[in-house]
Amino acid sequence: MPSVASRLRSSSAWAGAALVAASALAPLVFNEYYQSFLLQVFIAIALAQAWNLISGMTGYVSFGHSAFFGLGAYGGALFLTWGFPWWLAVFHGAVVAAILSLPLGVLTLRLRGPYFAIAMLGLNEIGRIVATLWVDLTNGGSGITLSPSLLPSLGMQYFTSLALALGATLLVAWIHGNRFGLELRAIREDEEAAEMVGVNTTLNKVIAFVLSALIPGAMGAVYVMYTSFINPGSAFAHTRNVEMIVMVLFGGSGTVWGPIVGAAIIMILREMLWAEFPEVHLALLGVLLLVVVLYLPGGIVSLARRDRRRRPDVAKAEETPP
Protein backbone atom coordinates (compact mmCIF):
# COMPACT_ATOMS: atom_id res chain seq x y z
CA MET A 1 0.00 0.00 0.00
CA PRO A 2 1.35 3.41 -0.90
CA SER A 3 2.68 5.39 2.01
CA VAL A 4 0.54 8.41 1.22
CA ALA A 5 -2.64 6.44 1.84
CA SER A 6 -1.38 4.96 5.06
CA ARG A 7 -0.34 8.40 6.23
CA LEU A 8 -3.78 9.72 5.38
CA ARG A 9 -5.38 6.82 7.12
CA SER A 10 -3.44 7.32 10.27
CA SER A 11 -4.22 11.01 10.32
CA SER A 12 -7.90 10.30 9.87
CA ALA A 13 -7.61 7.70 12.59
CA TRP A 14 -6.12 10.36 14.85
CA ALA A 15 -8.91 12.73 13.92
CA GLY A 16 -11.42 10.04 14.73
CA ALA A 17 -9.83 9.29 18.07
CA ALA A 18 -9.81 12.98 18.92
CA LEU A 19 -13.49 13.26 18.10
CA VAL A 20 -14.35 10.27 20.24
CA ALA A 21 -12.33 11.62 23.14
CA ALA A 22 -14.00 15.01 22.82
CA SER A 23 -17.41 13.37 22.71
CA ALA A 24 -16.64 11.32 25.78
CA LEU A 25 -15.60 14.40 27.71
CA ALA A 26 -18.44 16.58 26.45
CA PRO A 27 -20.89 15.82 29.27
CA LEU A 28 -18.41 17.32 31.70
CA VAL A 29 -18.47 20.60 29.87
CA PHE A 30 -21.85 20.87 28.21
CA ASN A 31 -25.27 20.99 29.73
CA GLU A 32 -28.13 18.62 29.07
CA TYR A 33 -29.37 20.49 26.03
CA TYR A 34 -26.12 19.92 24.16
CA GLN A 35 -25.89 16.38 25.43
CA SER A 36 -29.32 15.66 23.99
CA PHE A 37 -28.26 17.20 20.72
CA LEU A 38 -25.08 15.14 20.55
CA LEU A 39 -27.04 12.04 21.46
CA GLN A 40 -29.21 12.60 18.43
CA VAL A 41 -26.14 13.20 16.31
CA PHE A 42 -24.74 9.86 17.44
CA ILE A 43 -28.00 8.17 16.56
CA ALA A 44 -27.87 9.81 13.14
CA ILE A 45 -24.28 8.72 12.58
CA ALA A 46 -25.03 5.13 13.48
CA LEU A 47 -28.07 5.05 11.18
CA ALA A 48 -26.08 6.65 8.41
CA GLN A 49 -23.30 4.10 8.70
CA ALA A 50 -25.80 1.26 8.64
CA TRP A 51 -27.39 2.63 5.49
CA ASN A 52 -23.95 3.17 4.08
CA LEU A 53 -23.18 -0.49 4.55
CA ILE A 54 -26.03 -1.88 2.50
CA SER A 55 -26.56 1.00 0.12
CA GLY A 56 -23.24 2.74 -0.26
CA MET A 57 -20.94 -0.25 -0.16
CA THR A 58 -23.09 -3.05 -1.46
CA GLY A 59 -25.08 -0.94 -3.88
CA TYR A 60 -28.52 -1.98 -2.69
CA VAL A 61 -30.01 1.45 -2.12
CA SER A 62 -32.78 1.20 0.44
CA PHE A 63 -35.63 3.69 0.63
CA GLY A 64 -37.09 2.16 3.77
CA HIS A 65 -34.37 1.32 6.22
CA SER A 66 -36.10 3.17 8.99
CA ALA A 67 -38.25 0.04 9.16
CA PHE A 68 -35.52 -1.58 11.24
CA PHE A 69 -35.26 1.46 13.42
CA GLY A 70 -38.95 1.15 14.08
CA LEU A 71 -38.71 -2.56 14.81
CA GLY A 72 -35.90 -1.92 17.27
CA ALA A 73 -37.84 0.90 18.89
CA TYR A 74 -40.82 -1.32 19.54
CA GLY A 75 -38.61 -4.23 20.54
CA GLY A 76 -36.84 -2.06 23.06
CA ALA A 77 -40.02 -0.45 24.36
CA LEU A 78 -41.70 -3.79 24.90
CA PHE A 79 -38.74 -5.22 26.74
CA LEU A 80 -38.73 -2.22 29.01
CA THR A 81 -42.44 -2.53 29.76
CA TRP A 82 -41.89 -6.22 30.48
CA GLY A 83 -39.43 -5.27 33.18
CA PHE A 84 -36.11 -6.08 31.62
CA PRO A 85 -33.07 -3.89 32.26
CA TRP A 86 -32.50 -1.15 29.73
CA TRP A 87 -29.31 -2.51 28.29
CA LEU A 88 -31.05 -5.77 27.56
CA ALA A 89 -33.77 -3.78 25.87
CA VAL A 90 -31.21 -2.25 23.55
CA PHE A 91 -29.89 -5.68 22.83
CA HIS A 92 -33.41 -6.91 22.21
CA GLY A 93 -34.07 -4.12 19.77
CA ALA A 94 -31.02 -5.13 17.80
CA VAL A 95 -31.96 -8.81 17.90
CA VAL A 96 -35.55 -8.25 16.76
CA ALA A 97 -34.39 -6.17 13.83
CA ALA A 98 -31.67 -8.63 12.91
CA ILE A 99 -33.90 -11.70 13.09
CA LEU A 100 -36.64 -10.15 11.00
CA SER A 101 -34.15 -8.77 8.52
CA LEU A 102 -33.03 -12.25 7.58
CA PRO A 103 -36.16 -13.43 5.78
CA LEU A 104 -36.94 -9.93 4.60
CA GLY A 105 -33.49 -9.61 3.14
CA VAL A 106 -33.61 -12.93 1.39
CA LEU A 107 -36.84 -11.85 -0.26
CA THR A 108 -36.06 -8.28 -1.17
CA LEU A 109 -32.44 -8.76 -2.18
CA ARG A 110 -33.64 -10.72 -5.17
CA LEU A 111 -34.77 -7.43 -6.59
CA ARG A 112 -32.37 -5.13 -8.26
CA GLY A 113 -31.74 -1.41 -8.12
CA PRO A 114 -34.83 0.76 -8.03
CA TYR A 115 -37.15 -2.19 -7.36
CA PHE A 116 -35.29 -3.01 -4.19
CA ALA A 117 -35.56 0.65 -3.18
CA ILE A 118 -39.30 0.67 -3.68
CA ALA A 119 -39.79 -2.67 -1.96
CA MET A 120 -37.97 -1.31 1.08
CA LEU A 121 -40.16 1.79 0.98
CA GLY A 122 -43.15 -0.50 1.05
CA LEU A 123 -41.63 -2.47 3.90
CA ASN A 124 -41.43 0.65 6.03
CA GLU A 125 -45.07 1.39 5.39
CA ILE A 126 -45.98 -2.21 6.18
CA GLY A 127 -44.13 -1.87 9.47
CA ARG A 128 -46.14 1.20 10.28
CA ILE A 129 -49.40 -0.50 9.38
CA VAL A 130 -48.61 -3.62 11.38
CA ALA A 131 -47.69 -1.49 14.38
CA THR A 132 -51.02 0.31 14.05
CA LEU A 133 -53.13 -2.80 13.59
CA TRP A 134 -51.50 -5.15 16.10
CA VAL A 135 -53.03 -3.33 19.00
CA ASP A 136 -52.57 -6.14 21.50
CA LEU A 137 -48.84 -5.95 21.16
CA THR A 138 -48.14 -2.36 20.31
CA ASN A 139 -51.10 -0.46 21.68
CA GLY A 140 -51.85 0.66 18.16
CA GLY A 141 -51.97 4.30 17.32
CA SER A 142 -51.87 5.37 20.95
CA GLY A 143 -48.37 4.11 21.24
CA ILE A 144 -46.39 2.98 24.24
CA THR A 145 -45.43 5.40 26.97
CA LEU A 146 -42.55 4.44 29.22
CA SER A 147 -42.42 5.51 32.81
CA PRO A 148 -39.18 7.26 33.72
CA SER A 149 -38.37 4.67 36.35
CA LEU A 150 -37.67 2.18 33.58
CA LEU A 151 -35.24 4.42 31.82
CA PRO A 152 -31.53 4.99 32.32
CA SER A 153 -30.14 8.43 32.97
CA LEU A 154 -29.36 10.81 30.15
CA GLY A 155 -25.70 10.22 30.81
CA MET A 156 -26.07 6.47 30.25
CA GLN A 157 -28.09 7.05 27.13
CA TYR A 158 -25.45 9.45 25.90
CA PHE A 159 -22.62 7.00 26.29
CA THR A 160 -24.62 4.14 24.88
CA SER A 161 -25.40 6.05 21.75
CA LEU A 162 -21.80 7.23 21.49
CA ALA A 163 -20.61 3.64 21.85
CA LEU A 164 -23.03 2.43 19.19
CA ALA A 165 -22.10 5.21 16.79
CA LEU A 166 -18.45 4.41 17.33
CA GLY A 167 -19.11 0.72 16.93
CA ALA A 168 -21.00 1.26 13.69
CA THR A 169 -18.22 3.42 12.29
CA LEU A 170 -15.52 0.98 13.28
CA LEU A 171 -17.51 -1.86 11.77
CA VAL A 172 -17.86 -0.01 8.47
CA ALA A 173 -14.21 0.98 8.52
CA TRP A 174 -13.13 -2.58 9.20
CA ILE A 175 -15.35 -3.99 6.47
CA HIS A 176 -14.21 -1.32 4.05
CA GLY A 177 -10.64 -2.53 4.37
CA ASN A 178 -11.15 -6.27 4.44
CA ARG A 179 -12.08 -9.03 2.05
CA PHE A 180 -15.78 -8.94 2.89
CA GLY A 181 -15.90 -5.26 1.99
CA LEU A 182 -14.05 -5.91 -1.25
CA GLU A 183 -16.60 -8.53 -2.19
CA LEU A 184 -19.46 -6.18 -1.31
CA ARG A 185 -18.00 -3.50 -3.50
CA ALA A 186 -17.59 -5.97 -6.32
CA ILE A 187 -21.26 -6.85 -5.94
CA ARG A 188 -22.08 -3.18 -6.14
CA GLU A 189 -20.04 -2.74 -9.29
CA ASP A 190 -21.32 -5.73 -11.22
CA GLU A 191 -23.12 -8.44 -9.34
CA GLU A 192 -23.12 -10.97 -12.13
CA ALA A 193 -19.42 -10.58 -12.82
CA ALA A 194 -18.73 -10.86 -9.10
CA GLU A 195 -20.63 -14.13 -9.01
CA MET A 196 -18.60 -15.28 -11.99
CA VAL A 197 -15.32 -14.81 -10.15
CA GLY A 198 -16.40 -16.79 -7.15
CA VAL A 199 -18.11 -14.26 -4.88
CA ASN A 200 -21.10 -15.82 -3.15
CA THR A 201 -23.30 -12.82 -3.79
CA THR A 202 -26.36 -14.05 -1.94
CA LEU A 203 -24.54 -14.81 1.28
CA ASN A 204 -22.60 -11.56 1.20
CA LYS A 205 -25.66 -9.43 0.49
CA VAL A 206 -27.69 -11.03 3.25
CA ILE A 207 -24.92 -10.62 5.81
CA ALA A 208 -24.54 -6.96 4.89
CA PHE A 209 -28.29 -6.52 5.08
CA VAL A 210 -28.58 -8.10 8.51
CA LEU A 211 -25.70 -6.01 9.83
CA SER A 212 -27.32 -2.91 8.38
CA ALA A 213 -30.55 -3.79 10.19
CA LEU A 214 -28.97 -4.65 13.51
CA ILE A 215 -27.52 -1.20 14.10
CA PRO A 216 -30.74 0.76 13.51
CA GLY A 217 -32.47 -1.84 15.65
CA ALA A 218 -30.24 -1.06 18.59
CA MET A 219 -30.52 2.67 17.96
CA GLY A 220 -34.28 2.46 17.83
CA ALA A 221 -34.26 1.11 21.36
CA VAL A 222 -31.93 3.89 22.48
CA TYR A 223 -34.21 6.44 20.87
CA VAL A 224 -37.21 5.06 22.71
CA MET A 225 -35.35 5.42 25.98
CA TYR A 226 -34.56 9.00 25.07
CA THR A 227 -38.08 10.02 24.13
CA SER A 228 -39.85 7.65 26.58
CA PHE A 229 -42.63 7.29 24.03
CA ILE A 230 -43.16 5.43 20.77
CA ASN A 231 -45.99 5.17 18.30
CA PRO A 232 -46.21 3.93 14.70
CA GLY A 233 -45.79 7.39 13.25
CA SER A 234 -42.61 8.19 15.10
CA ALA A 235 -41.15 4.70 14.88
CA PHE A 236 -41.52 4.42 11.13
CA ALA A 237 -41.21 8.08 10.33
CA HIS A 238 -40.44 9.10 6.79
CA THR A 239 -38.14 11.85 7.85
CA ARG A 240 -35.73 9.34 9.24
CA ASN A 241 -35.64 7.54 5.92
CA VAL A 242 -34.96 10.73 4.07
CA GLU A 243 -32.32 11.79 6.54
CA MET A 244 -30.49 8.48 6.31
CA ILE A 245 -30.37 8.69 2.54
CA VAL A 246 -29.39 12.33 2.29
CA MET A 247 -26.85 12.19 5.10
CA VAL A 248 -24.91 9.46 3.39
CA LEU A 249 -25.25 10.64 -0.18
CA PHE A 250 -24.48 14.20 0.77
CA GLY A 251 -21.54 13.20 2.94
CA GLY A 252 -20.11 10.62 0.58
CA SER A 253 -21.65 7.25 -0.12
CA GLY A 254 -19.43 4.20 0.28
CA THR A 255 -16.80 5.97 2.35
CA VAL A 256 -16.12 5.79 6.08
CA TRP A 257 -16.13 9.51 6.86
CA GLY A 258 -18.91 10.48 4.49
CA PRO A 259 -21.79 9.38 6.73
CA ILE A 260 -20.20 11.11 9.71
CA VAL A 261 -19.71 14.39 7.86
CA GLY A 262 -23.16 14.20 6.31
CA ALA A 263 -24.87 13.32 9.57
CA ALA A 264 -23.12 16.10 11.45
CA ILE A 265 -23.95 18.77 8.89
CA ILE A 266 -27.55 17.76 8.52
CA MET A 267 -28.13 17.41 12.24
CA ILE A 268 -26.75 20.90 12.75
CA LEU A 269 -29.04 22.23 10.03
CA ARG A 270 -31.90 20.36 11.66
CA GLU A 271 -31.13 21.86 15.02
CA MET A 272 -31.27 25.31 13.54
CA LEU A 273 -34.44 24.81 11.54
CA TRP A 274 -36.53 22.11 13.11
CA ALA A 275 -37.90 23.96 16.09
CA GLU A 276 -39.37 26.75 14.02
CA PHE A 277 -39.45 25.37 10.52
CA PRO A 278 -39.52 21.58 10.23
CA GLU A 279 -40.91 21.80 6.72
CA VAL A 280 -38.08 24.02 5.64
CA HIS A 281 -35.62 21.50 7.01
CA LEU A 282 -37.16 18.69 5.04
CA ALA A 283 -37.55 20.73 1.89
CA LEU A 284 -33.90 21.60 2.23
CA LEU A 285 -33.07 17.91 2.45
CA GLY A 286 -34.94 17.42 -0.78
CA VAL A 287 -32.90 20.18 -2.37
CA LEU A 288 -29.67 18.68 -1.08
CA LEU A 289 -30.67 15.34 -2.52
CA LEU A 290 -31.25 16.91 -5.90
CA VAL A 291 -27.98 18.78 -5.77
CA VAL A 292 -26.07 15.63 -4.91
CA VAL A 293 -27.72 13.57 -7.62
CA LEU A 294 -27.24 16.20 -10.29
CA TYR A 295 -23.93 17.77 -9.41
CA LEU A 296 -22.09 16.02 -6.61
CA PRO A 297 -22.51 12.27 -6.88
CA GLY A 298 -19.54 11.59 -4.69
CA GLY A 299 -20.74 13.74 -1.83
CA ILE A 300 -18.82 16.23 0.26
CA VAL A 301 -15.95 13.85 0.88
CA SER A 302 -15.27 13.72 -2.82
CA LEU A 303 -14.62 17.45 -2.81
CA ALA A 304 -11.67 16.72 -0.60
CA ARG A 305 -10.53 14.18 -3.13
CA ARG A 306 -11.23 16.47 -6.05
CA ASP A 307 -12.95 13.62 -7.85
CA ARG A 308 -16.53 14.64 -8.39
CA ARG A 309 -17.50 11.86 -10.74
CA ARG A 310 -16.88 9.17 -8.17
CA ARG A 311 -20.29 7.78 -7.38
CA PRO A 312 -19.74 4.17 -6.41
CA ASP A 313 -23.23 2.99 -5.65
CA VAL A 314 -24.72 3.58 -9.07
CA ALA A 315 -22.11 1.79 -11.12
CA LYS A 316 -24.30 -1.23 -11.71
CA ALA A 317 -24.18 -2.63 -15.21
CA GLU A 318 -27.79 -3.48 -15.76
CA GLU A 319 -30.89 -2.17 -14.08
CA THR A 320 -33.52 -1.59 -16.67
CA PRO A 321 -35.84 -4.47 -17.42
CA PRO A 322 -35.53 -5.90 -20.93
Binding site: P2, R179, L182, E183, R185, A186, R188, E189, D190, E192, A193, A194, E195, M196, V197, G198, V199, N200, T201, R310, P312, A315, A317
Partner: protein, 248 residues
Protein backbone atom coordinates in the same frame (compact mmCIF):
# COMPACT_ATOMS: atom_id res chain seq x y z
CA UNK B 1 -32.26 -42.75 -22.61
CA UNK B 2 -28.99 -43.42 -20.90
CA UNK B 3 -26.47 -40.65 -20.69
CA UNK B 4 -23.02 -41.76 -21.82
CA UNK B 5 -20.44 -41.44 -19.11
CA UNK B 6 -17.89 -38.73 -19.53
CA UNK B 7 -14.50 -40.07 -20.57
CA UNK B 8 -11.89 -39.17 -17.90
CA UNK B 9 -9.79 -37.71 -20.71
CA UNK B 10 -12.48 -35.12 -21.23
CA UNK B 11 -12.60 -32.30 -18.78
CA UNK B 12 -15.98 -31.08 -19.99
CA UNK B 13 -18.81 -33.13 -21.39
CA UNK B 14 -22.05 -31.64 -22.55
CA UNK B 15 -24.92 -33.87 -23.63
CA UNK B 16 -28.22 -32.90 -25.11
CA UNK B 17 -28.19 -29.32 -23.93
CA UNK B 18 -31.43 -27.53 -24.74
CA UNK B 19 -32.30 -23.95 -24.03
CA UNK B 20 -35.60 -22.39 -24.98
CA UNK B 21 -36.37 -18.71 -24.63
CA UNK B 22 -40.13 -18.86 -24.87
CA UNK B 23 -40.27 -19.95 -28.46
CA UNK B 24 -36.75 -19.22 -29.58
CA UNK B 25 -34.64 -22.34 -29.37
CA UNK B 26 -31.19 -21.05 -28.63
CA UNK B 27 -29.70 -24.47 -28.05
CA UNK B 28 -31.19 -27.58 -29.61
CA UNK B 29 -29.45 -30.55 -28.09
CA UNK B 30 -25.79 -29.62 -28.06
CA UNK B 31 -23.21 -32.36 -27.55
CA UNK B 32 -19.71 -31.20 -26.89
CA UNK B 33 -16.57 -32.68 -25.30
CA UNK B 34 -13.43 -30.88 -24.45
CA UNK B 35 -10.34 -33.01 -23.97
CA UNK B 36 -8.02 -32.16 -21.13
CA UNK B 37 -5.06 -29.98 -21.92
CA UNK B 38 -6.34 -28.87 -25.32
CA UNK B 39 -7.23 -25.55 -26.77
CA UNK B 40 -10.63 -26.17 -28.31
CA UNK B 41 -12.33 -23.70 -30.55
CA UNK B 42 -16.01 -22.87 -30.82
CA UNK B 43 -17.02 -21.06 -33.96
CA UNK B 44 -20.21 -20.30 -35.78
CA UNK B 45 -22.19 -17.46 -37.30
CA UNK B 46 -23.61 -14.70 -35.16
CA UNK B 47 -26.65 -15.74 -33.26
CA UNK B 48 -25.81 -19.41 -33.39
CA UNK B 49 -25.90 -19.74 -29.63
CA UNK B 50 -22.25 -19.69 -28.67
CA UNK B 51 -22.56 -17.16 -25.89
CA UNK B 52 -25.75 -18.83 -24.69
CA UNK B 53 -23.80 -22.04 -24.42
CA UNK B 54 -21.19 -20.30 -22.29
CA UNK B 55 -23.90 -18.71 -20.16
CA UNK B 56 -25.36 -22.12 -19.49
CA UNK B 57 -22.09 -23.93 -18.79
CA UNK B 58 -20.86 -21.20 -16.46
CA UNK B 59 -24.09 -21.28 -14.49
CA UNK B 60 -25.47 -17.82 -15.15
CA UNK B 61 -28.27 -19.18 -17.24
CA UNK B 62 -30.14 -21.77 -15.23
CA UNK B 63 -32.92 -22.50 -17.62
CA UNK B 64 -31.35 -25.26 -19.71
CA UNK B 65 -31.94 -29.00 -19.69
CA UNK B 66 -29.42 -31.69 -20.45
CA UNK B 67 -26.20 -32.81 -18.85
CA UNK B 68 -23.03 -30.92 -18.11
CA UNK B 69 -20.18 -32.82 -16.54
CA UNK B 70 -17.06 -30.98 -15.47
CA UNK B 71 -14.07 -32.88 -14.20
CA UNK B 72 -16.30 -35.82 -13.38
CA UNK B 73 -19.04 -33.88 -11.62
CA UNK B 74 -22.41 -32.83 -12.89
CA UNK B 75 -22.60 -29.06 -12.60
CA UNK B 76 -25.97 -28.30 -14.12
CA UNK B 77 -27.88 -26.19 -11.62
CA UNK B 78 -24.82 -25.05 -9.71
CA UNK B 79 -24.32 -21.39 -8.86
CA UNK B 80 -21.71 -19.61 -10.96
CA UNK B 81 -19.55 -19.00 -7.91
CA UNK B 82 -19.61 -22.70 -7.05
CA UNK B 83 -18.59 -23.59 -10.61
CA UNK B 84 -15.79 -21.07 -10.45
CA UNK B 85 -14.45 -22.53 -7.24
CA UNK B 86 -14.63 -25.98 -8.75
CA UNK B 87 -12.19 -24.89 -11.42
CA UNK B 88 -14.19 -23.63 -14.40
CA UNK B 89 -13.75 -19.94 -15.20
CA UNK B 90 -15.14 -17.76 -17.92
CA UNK B 91 -14.62 -14.32 -19.44
CA UNK B 92 -17.23 -12.11 -21.08
CA UNK B 93 -17.50 -10.79 -24.58
CA UNK B 94 -17.70 -7.17 -23.42
CA UNK B 95 -15.29 -6.22 -20.71
CA UNK B 96 -16.75 -6.47 -17.25
CA UNK B 97 -13.96 -5.14 -15.20
CA UNK B 98 -15.16 -3.61 -11.92
CA UNK B 99 -14.97 0.09 -12.78
CA UNK B 100 -14.55 1.59 -9.31
CA UNK B 101 -12.12 -1.02 -8.02
CA UNK B 102 -8.42 -0.77 -8.68
CA UNK B 103 -6.76 -3.23 -11.00
CA UNK B 104 -5.21 -4.95 -8.02
CA UNK B 105 -8.57 -5.19 -6.27
CA UNK B 106 -10.11 -6.54 -9.44
CA UNK B 107 -7.66 -9.42 -9.35
CA UNK B 108 -7.58 -10.07 -5.63
CA UNK B 109 -11.34 -10.38 -5.32
CA UNK B 110 -11.22 -13.22 -7.83
CA UNK B 111 -8.69 -15.13 -5.81
CA UNK B 112 -9.30 -17.49 -2.96
CA UNK B 113 -10.24 -15.99 0.38
CA UNK B 114 -7.70 -18.10 2.17
CA UNK B 115 -4.87 -17.04 -0.09
CA UNK B 116 -2.49 -15.04 2.09
CA UNK B 117 -0.31 -14.06 -0.83
CA UNK B 118 -3.08 -12.95 -3.16
CA UNK B 119 -1.50 -9.53 -3.58
CA UNK B 120 1.80 -10.99 -4.74
CA UNK B 121 0.11 -13.38 -7.13
CA UNK B 122 -1.88 -10.56 -8.63
CA UNK B 123 1.17 -8.35 -8.99
CA UNK B 124 3.05 -11.23 -10.55
CA UNK B 125 0.35 -11.69 -13.16
CA UNK B 126 0.33 -7.98 -13.89
CA UNK B 127 4.10 -8.03 -14.21
CA UNK B 128 3.80 -10.76 -16.80
CA UNK B 129 1.80 -8.49 -19.09
CA UNK B 130 3.68 -5.30 -18.20
CA UNK B 131 0.74 -3.83 -16.33
CA UNK B 132 2.27 -3.78 -12.86
CA UNK B 133 2.37 0.01 -12.85
CA UNK B 134 -1.39 0.06 -13.28
CA UNK B 135 -2.07 -1.82 -10.06
CA UNK B 136 -3.68 1.20 -8.35
CA UNK B 137 -5.52 2.54 -11.35
CA UNK B 138 -9.29 2.28 -11.26
CA UNK B 139 -10.79 -0.20 -13.68
CA UNK B 140 -12.76 2.47 -15.49
CA UNK B 141 -9.62 4.43 -16.27
CA UNK B 142 -8.03 1.66 -18.30
CA UNK B 143 -8.21 1.49 -22.06
CA UNK B 144 -10.61 -1.10 -23.41
CA UNK B 145 -7.80 -3.42 -24.42
CA UNK B 146 -6.22 -3.17 -21.00
CA UNK B 147 -9.57 -3.92 -19.41
CA UNK B 148 -9.96 -7.09 -21.42
CA UNK B 149 -6.47 -8.14 -20.45
CA UNK B 150 -7.18 -7.50 -16.78
CA UNK B 151 -10.40 -9.44 -17.07
CA UNK B 152 -8.42 -12.32 -18.48
CA UNK B 153 -5.90 -12.14 -15.65
CA UNK B 154 -8.74 -12.01 -13.19
CA UNK B 155 -9.90 -15.52 -13.93
CA UNK B 156 -6.35 -16.81 -13.66
CA UNK B 157 -6.28 -15.92 -9.98
CA UNK B 158 -8.01 -19.11 -8.97
CA UNK B 159 -5.87 -21.36 -11.18
CA UNK B 160 -8.77 -22.84 -13.08
CA UNK B 161 -8.47 -26.16 -14.86
CA UNK B 162 -10.75 -25.03 -17.70
CA UNK B 163 -11.18 -21.51 -19.00
CA UNK B 164 -13.97 -20.44 -21.33
CA UNK B 165 -12.90 -17.42 -23.35
CA UNK B 166 -15.58 -15.46 -25.16
CA UNK B 167 -13.94 -13.51 -27.97
CA UNK B 168 -11.09 -12.44 -25.73
CA UNK B 169 -9.36 -10.41 -28.39
CA UNK B 170 -12.30 -8.45 -29.74
CA UNK B 171 -11.63 -4.74 -29.66
CA UNK B 172 -8.06 -5.20 -28.47
CA UNK B 173 -5.08 -3.69 -30.28
CA UNK B 174 -2.61 -6.07 -32.01
CA UNK B 175 0.12 -5.78 -29.40
CA UNK B 176 -2.08 -6.67 -26.48
CA UNK B 177 -3.77 -9.31 -28.58
CA UNK B 178 -0.44 -11.00 -29.16
CA UNK B 179 0.27 -10.85 -25.43
CA UNK B 180 -3.05 -12.48 -24.72
CA UNK B 181 -2.54 -15.36 -27.11
CA UNK B 182 0.97 -15.87 -25.81
CA UNK B 183 -0.45 -16.27 -22.35
CA UNK B 184 -2.98 -18.75 -23.59
CA UNK B 185 -0.26 -20.80 -25.18
CA UNK B 186 1.90 -20.55 -22.10
CA UNK B 187 -0.87 -21.62 -19.75
CA UNK B 188 -1.94 -24.39 -22.04
CA UNK B 189 1.59 -25.65 -21.94
CA UNK B 190 1.27 -25.80 -18.17
CA UNK B 191 -1.89 -27.85 -18.41
CA UNK B 192 -4.82 -25.43 -18.51
CA UNK B 193 -7.57 -26.38 -20.91
CA UNK B 194 -9.23 -23.71 -23.01
CA UNK B 195 -12.52 -23.47 -24.87
CA UNK B 196 -12.48 -20.36 -27.01
CA UNK B 197 -15.16 -18.56 -28.95
CA UNK B 198 -13.48 -16.69 -31.75
CA UNK B 199 -14.26 -15.21 -35.13
CA UNK B 200 -10.67 -14.79 -36.17
CA UNK B 201 -9.96 -17.94 -38.16
CA UNK B 202 -6.22 -17.42 -38.12
CA UNK B 203 -6.22 -17.70 -34.37
CA UNK B 204 -8.40 -20.76 -34.48
CA UNK B 205 -6.17 -22.38 -37.05
CA UNK B 206 -3.06 -21.48 -35.12
CA UNK B 207 -4.11 -22.36 -31.63
CA UNK B 208 -6.85 -24.94 -31.63
CA UNK B 209 -6.36 -28.64 -31.97
CA UNK B 210 -10.08 -29.29 -32.02
CA UNK B 211 -12.88 -27.12 -33.35
CA UNK B 212 -16.64 -27.26 -32.91
CA UNK B 213 -18.98 -25.44 -35.24
CA UNK B 214 -22.28 -24.26 -33.83
CA UNK B 215 -25.08 -23.13 -36.06
CA UNK B 216 -28.62 -22.29 -35.01
CA UNK B 217 -28.21 -24.04 -31.72
CA UNK B 218 -26.72 -27.26 -33.00
CA UNK B 219 -23.24 -28.62 -33.47
CA UNK B 220 -22.93 -29.16 -37.18
CA UNK B 221 -19.28 -30.10 -37.45
CA UNK B 222 -16.28 -31.04 -35.40
CA UNK B 223 -12.66 -31.69 -36.16
CA UNK B 224 -9.42 -29.90 -36.77
CA UNK B 225 -9.50 -26.63 -38.59
CA UNK B 226 -8.45 -27.93 -41.95
CA UNK B 227 -11.31 -30.41 -42.03
CA UNK B 228 -13.80 -27.85 -40.80
CA UNK B 229 -13.11 -25.15 -43.28
CA UNK B 230 -13.92 -27.38 -46.17
CA UNK B 231 -17.01 -28.88 -44.61
CA UNK B 232 -20.01 -28.13 -46.77
CA UNK B 233 -22.38 -27.62 -43.90
CA UNK B 234 -20.02 -25.11 -42.30
CA UNK B 235 -19.71 -23.09 -45.46
CA UNK B 236 -23.44 -23.12 -45.82
CA UNK B 237 -23.95 -21.97 -42.25
CA UNK B 238 -21.68 -18.99 -42.75
CA UNK B 239 -22.52 -18.04 -46.29
CA UNK B 240 -25.98 -19.38 -46.82
CA UNK B 241 -27.16 -21.92 -49.31
CA UNK B 242 -25.53 -22.04 -52.73
CA UNK B 243 -26.61 -20.18 -55.84
CA UNK B 244 -29.82 -22.07 -56.29
CA UNK B 245 -31.77 -19.74 -54.01
CA UNK B 246 -30.24 -16.41 -54.89
CA UNK B 247 -32.57 -14.98 -57.49
CA UNK B 248 -36.29 -14.97 -56.83
Amino acid sequence: MTIPACDPDHILCVWGLRRDFGGVQALRGVDLHVARGTVTGLIGPNGSGKTTLFQVISGIDRGATGTITFDGESILGWRPSQIYHRGLARTFQLSRVFPELTVLENLVVAGSRKDRSADERALGLLEHVHLRDYADVLGKNLSYGQQKLVEFLRVLMSDPALILLDEPAAGVNPTLRATLWDMVRHLNGLGTTFLIIEHNMEVIADLCSDVYVLSEGEIIARGDFAAIRNDERVVEAYFGKARRQVAT
